[in-house]
């Protein structure tokens, strides 16, 4: 896409603008036309970042199933156009804004490209803070006197606990310099199992994307809640397993 930098540069000269103070608006600072996220679509000038979500930033629909090819192309094109070199001679505002846009671009791309981060991001847009889940459940359990529904399922907890016991043993053995090969092998085997489980969870999560997008389209609050809770559950399990695999690797490698 080509765009002209001439625009109405002349009007800028008469304005004394501080780089950080103007409020970003939906119209171009330079020519007043409607802008898209990064550039004015009429005069092409770079704009101060709008507080938009990452999907809007890329002009993508707010869906979990993302056309990754399209995302990638958009990323590379924008990276090129926002490159600091392009603005080396621009005015101070353009330099500042292109920098801000670039860093936003990188955050947005990194988040949307990664299946887990993308899902967590969409949940966050929904107001779900994964970190808060556990605390909220405890408050609920306390006030109702009921047993708290563990965010992590009991069978997984058992497994995590037992594996941790074995890891502890192996750590102790290693300290003495006499690790039991049978234990090492056993832990290695469990690690493989965990990695498989991890992969399966990610697949299950991806399978939910379509359902989520459909629920959003249909506007059914109930479907939405159901899919959302399912995704939270899967993400929690996945995080758990990921941490465990990390610990196992640490012990095995040392």
């Amino acid at each position: 896409m080509r765009w002209s930098r001439a625009g109405r540069a002349a009007t800028m000269e008469s304005m004394t603008v501080e780089v950080s103070n103007p409020v970003a608006t939906a119209s171009c600072w330079s020519c007043g036309e409607m802008r898209v996220s990064q550039f004015c679509h009429a005069c092409g000038k770079v704009q101060q970042p709008l507080p938009v979500d990452y999907f809007t930033f890329f002009s993508l629909p707010q869906k979990l199933e993302v056309d990754v090819g399209r995302l990638e192309r958009a990323f590379y094109e924008l990276s090129r156009k926002l490159h600091p070199d392009v603005y080396a001679r621009g005015d101070a505002r353009e330099q500042e804004w292109s920098l801000q846009q670039s860093s936003l671009l990188n955050d947005a791309y990194r988040t949307l490209k990664d299946p887990i981060k993308r899902t967590e991001y969409v949940l966050r847009l929904e107001g779900v803070e994964l970190e808060e889940q556990s605390k909220t459940a405890t408050d609920r359990a306390r006030s109702t006197g009921e047993i708290k529904k563990q965010v992590v399922p009991p069978d997984l907890l058992e497994e995590v606990f037992d594996l941790n016991m074995q890891l502890e043993e192996l750590r102790a053995q290693k300290k003495l310099g006499e690790d039991d090969p049978a234990l090492v092998e056993e832990i290695g085997r469990q690690k493989l199992e965990l990695e498989e489980k991890h992969g399966a969870l990610v697949e299950q999560l991806k399978a939910r994307w379509k359902e989520w997008d459909k629920a959003v389209d249909s506007g059914s609050e109930e479907d939405r809640r159901k899919v959302r809770d399912g995704m939270i559950d899967l993400l929690n399990r996945r995080n758990y397993i990921r941490n465990l695999v990390r610990d196992v690797n640490e012990v095995l490698e040392n």
Binding site: L130, S134, K135, T138, V151, V152, L157, F161, M165, R242
Partner: protein, 137 residues
């Protein structure tokens, strides 16, 4: 991050580490986890069936220093209490006692959850074994 002296004390000198016989009628076991960090905590209580007083408590925690300190403290606190008294223990009290910073609050939540889960497990055992005498005495 700097741990408070009390955390360090429990961490380097944890009270009541170990386990109780899971299958015993008098023992309740709580196994809980924090998805935020992947830590797990097991807390067990041994209850006198006549008095409902928690006579012994053990824990084993795989987790951060705050989680270890929280569970260590929790076992100290529940001992000598009746199960109903122990149910009153709140994570905020643990936070206060150990001066935990906000990022470590979930570690204390874990300890409260573990107490509740252990008591719940114990109560379940009592219901099953002698359904008619739950409120004995």
């Amino acid at each position: 991050m700097a741990y408070s002296d009390k955390v360090l004390d429990h961490y380097s000198n944890p009270r009541n580490v170990g386990s109780l016989d899971k299958s015993s009628q008098e023992v309740g076991t709580g196994l809980v986890g924090a998805p935020e960090c992947g830590d797990v905590m097991k807390l067990q209580i041994k209850v006198n069936p006549q008095t409902n007083i928690i006579e012994d408590a053990k824990f084993k925690t795989f987790g951060c220093g705050s989680a270890i300190a929280s569970s260590s403290l929790a076992t100290e606190w529940v001992k000598g209490k009746t199960v109903d008294e122990a149910l009153q223990i709140k994570n905020t009290e643990i936070v206060k006692e150990l001066s935990l910073p906000p990022v470590k609050i979930h570690c204390s939540v874990l300890a409260e959850d573990a107490i509740r889960a252990a008591i719940h497990d114990w109560k379940k055992k009592q219901d099953v074994s002698k359904p008619a005498t739950v409120e004995a005495r």
